[in-house]
């Protein structure tokens, strides 16, 4: 067992800066590491069979040099970067990779990865696009396939008991994250947006129990801290596609703004919905991972009356949680952001903008190409936006 010298936010920063270090230590102790992309691979099933679920990211500070041979440059730079790291051997410690149908490029990644990177195990979950009854049943069936695939690979049975335990532990982590997010509600928030991203990424690099211990340290430290973020006039909610590096939020928080809340997948989208414990745990898992996760990749619309469409009611059904976030976290502005070529979020932007305009929340849309250099011009636009909100 490795002695951990630092604790709380210091430990978080260490892990954030060198994510593979801890997981490689665990591997040396005999643990198996299962990589996964995005929110839809079911973590509980990996944990139940004693894998360390390890979320795969890109690196916006590393130039893409190898992936362009296998993916054209007109695709999502985050996924290109992720693949680039795989091709460079940065994910060689993985014992497997789990993907899902997250978007059009994401649906191609398994084929490219299997062809050019190769890991001992891979499985793709063909997550449906809607929440129709047939789709929910399909999702459960796909999780049964995933279970069989994991059992064949490990030679172990994924029992109901193990799965229920894993669900409980992962739900505990989600509850702890929500507790941490509550600490962003005061003015000024007790933890910054930058620190929150670091915590999220650290959690996505550790076994769930270790992550829970770390979270408890962080929560205790943050509650008691005297040197938290300074008070600023703008309290912002950030909505959009993946933010897996602090650079964008650092840029925003370097201005007269605190990022107090997010609706992104390295943030609240990953942690806010729990898994309901059902008699057959796969039912609860299927429901949470298909229906409860809030990502525009899943088609949802106002279901109250399918015979006619009401745009306002549809927007309310899809986005009212943003109003609740803004109210509860006292956000007075919203930054909508997306990596370039993200079609999923790109189609969503006018609708979200309409909704936010209807409820009187100032907002601005930023598109970036997932590189540090791309952020400098956005600074001026954010500055201008902050002047408007004030």
């Amino acid at each position: 067992m490795v002695e951990v010298a630092s604790k709380g936010l210091s430990r978080v920063k260490e892990i954030y800066q060198d994510r593979p270090k801890r997981v490689k230590e665990l591997k040396a102790e005999g643990k198996k590491v299962m990589g996964y992309i995005c929110l839809y691979p079911v973590l509980e099933m990996m944990t139940a069979l004693d894998f360390v679920p390890y979320r795969l990211f890109g690196d916006m500070r590393e130039p893409i040099t190898r992936a362009d041979t296998y993916l054209p440059t007109v695709v999502c730079p985050f996924l290109r970067s992720l693949l680039d790291l795989g091709l460079k051997g940065k994910y060689d410690f993985l014992d497997g990779i789990v993907t899902s149908h997250i978007c059009d490029v994401g649906a191609q990644i398994p084929d490219v990865w299997n062809t050019f990177v190769q890991t001992p195990y891979s499985h793709g979950i063909d997550t449906p696009h809607t929440t129709h009854q047939s789709s929910r049943e399909r999702e459960k069936g796909l999780l049964q396939d995933f279970q069989k695939s994991l059992e064949d690979y490990t030679g172990q049975k994924l029992t109901t008991e193990k799965l229920k335990q894993a669900i409980e532990i992962h739900n505990q982590q989600r509850a702890l994250v929500r507790e941490l997010y509550d600490l962003r509600k005061p003015d000024p928030p007790l933890i910054s947006g930058v620190e929150t991203i670091q915590v999220m990424k650290a959690l996505m690099s550790l076994p769930v129990e270790e992550g829970n211990s770390l979270l408890r340290e962080v929560i205790s430290e943050v509650k008691g801290r005297k040197n938290g973020p300074p008070k600023k006039p703008a309290r912002l909610l950030v909505w959009g596609s993946i933010i897996d590096d602090t650079a964008l939020v650092e840029m925003i928080e370097g201005l007269e703004a605190n990022v107090v809340m997010d609706d992104t997948c390295v943030g609240s989208r990953a942690y806010f919905p729990d898994v309901k414990l059902t008699k057959d745990p796969l039912e609860g898992l299927a429901y949470r991972y298909l229906v409860e996760l809030k990502c525009p990749r899943t088609f949802k619309e106002a279901s109250s009356n399918r015979n006619r469409k009401d745009y306002k009611a549809d927007l309310e059904s899809r986005f009212s949680y943003l109003r609740d976030y803004a109210r509860d976290w006292k956000a007075n502005g919203v930054i909508l952001e997306s990596v370039r070529y993200c079609d999923t979020h790109g189609y969503e932007v006018p609708g979200v903008t309409d909704y936010l305009n209807n409820i009187g929340l100032p907002n601005i849309y930023l598109e970036h190409d997932y590189s540090e250099g791309a952020l400098a011009p956005l600074r001026t636009r954010v500055q201008g936006f902050l002047e408007i909100t004030q």
Partner: protein
């Protein structure tokens, strides 16, 4: 060919007439299921994807693309979608079909039927149309399993089960919306008609394997729309036209008549969606002896025999007819021993080069033309991987030309021609390599 296109052009006239008469009109996405079902419930279907190609070819797309951007939609989104979003925004603002709309324009729908088939952008696009129409949307689910997952024991049956349940939900939704019952006898009739149509259309396209290729891809693009974008009830007439086309193309095969008026020097597979705004570019390449013999996205698959004994549910009969699953597709494409190896390779590695590369062998291609599109990640993302399979398995090289389906400003034909000229040397080199390795052509 012109008679086939006329069928598709008529779709817009018929659609506008239906709207005027208060009959239901649906905007629909291309996928195997909904058009037939909607036709059984007397819903007139119109395909905005096809309308995007018409706008591109007629030069009208620029106006709609500009409007789409003004509405806040990023300019990297699908060209068909942006064309449609811009068109719809203008139609809503004007309260009528925009006067510059080619072909008379698309009528206003009372229903949108989208799908996750082919790409996810398609259902996001129709969802975004909710800004302009109070038309309910149904998104038809399809399966998009990876190769290894699709070969798991029982996978095909589970996929069929999913599709059947999904389509049952769709029919229930339609019955409630339209206040009428589904005509199941008509669906069975559509099944047989569609099967026959696809069979004949496949046979026409199978002929392009001949050397020299008797039918150029331009002719394919001009005549494919009738097979894809139809309301369902004209299947028999369209099949008759395709039979006529078969006879014509067969006659060219028998007499070794090439599709191009030049010596066929290079047989090319086109990868991606075509530059609808610049189809004349193919003619410039034809002058250099380039004969485009096939492509991947719109070509029909072989229509397999399906045993429907004991299956009485008309939806299940339709699903099993239209969807074979990966295992059967491999069995239909490869000899039995090869098929076993391909399946083993997939279970071991998660992919098979041989599936992707099969077409270049069957059609004796000398090169692949990769048309990478700024606005279509669904078709563009796999291109480099497919190209690597072509090279590794059959020593067939590729050329990459950037462009777009609808936006003319993204395509530089002069640059593309320069690249093409240089690429000929590459194709000659690999021809020689294939000859030395005894690879067959």
């Amino acid at each position: 060919m012109y008679a086939l296109r006329a069928h598709v052009d008529k779709m817009y006239d018929v659609g506008r007439e239906a709207e005027k008469e208060g009959r239901p009109v649906a905007w629909v996405m291309l996928e195997p299921w909904s058009a037939a079902i909607l036709s059984c419930m007397d819903v007139q279907t119109v395909f905005p994807e096809n309308y995007g190609t018409i706008c591109a070819a007629s030069g009208a797309a620029a106006t709609f693309l500009e409007r789409s951007e003004a509405e806040g939609f990023p300019n990297h989104l699908c060209g068909y979608a942006r064309n449609c979003l811009g068109y719809t925004a203008m139609m809503t603002e004007m309260g009528q079909i925009p006067p510059m709309a080619p072909g008379g324009g698309m009528p206003k729908p009372m229903l949108l039927v989208s799908s996750g088939a082919v790409c996810d952008a398609r259902f996001k696009w129709f969802q975004a149309l909710g800004r302009y129409f109070d038309a309910p949307i149904w998104v038809i689910e399809v399966t998009t399993s990876g190769p290894r997952e699709a070969l798991m024991e029982g996978a095909y049956e589970r996929e069929v089960n999913f599709m059947v349940n999904e389509l049952r939900e769709f029919v229930t939704f339609l019955e409630k919306l339209l206040g009428k019952k589904m005509d199941w006898d008509k669906l069975e009739e559509r099944r047989k008609q569609t099967r026959e149509l696809n069979k004949v259309w496949w046979e026409v396209n199978h002929l392009t394997k001949a050397v020299p290729c008797p039918m150029h891809l331009r002719d394919f693009y001009s005549s494919m729309s009738a097979a894809l974008y139809r309301s369902g009830h004209e299947a028999e007439e369209i099949t008759r036209l395709y039979r006529g086309m078969y006879d014509e193309v067969k006659q060219r095969v028998d007499n070794k008549i090439s599709a191009i008026n030049y010596e066929e020097k290079y047989r090319i597979i086109f990868e991606g969606l075509p530059p609808w705004h610049s189809l004349g570019f193919f003619d410039q390449l034809a002058e250099r002896g380039w004969n485009f013999v096939t492509e991947r996205y719109y070509h029909p698959g072989r229509v397999a025999e399906v045993d429907l004994t004991g299956i009485s549910d008309p939806i299940e009969r339709y699903v099993r007819t239209r969807y074979q699953g990966l295992a059967k597709s491999i069995d239909e494409t490869f000899e039995p021993e090869e098929a076993v190896k391909v399946k083993e390779e997939i279970m071991q590695k998660g992919f098979s080069q041989y599936i992707a590369a099969r077409k270049v062998k069957d059609y004796k291609c000398d090169g692949a033309f990769l048309h990478t599109l700024l606005t279509c990640r669904g078709t563009t993302a796999p291109l480099r991987r497919i190209a690597s399979h072509y090279l590794d398995v059959w020593k067939v090289p590729s050329i990459t030309v950037e462009g777009d389906i609808v936006d003319l400003t993204l395509f530089d034909p002069a640059d593309a021609l320069r690249k093409a000229e240089a690429f000929e040397e590459t194709m000659d080199h690999y021809k020689e390599l294939r000859r030395k390795e005894g690879l067959g052509w």
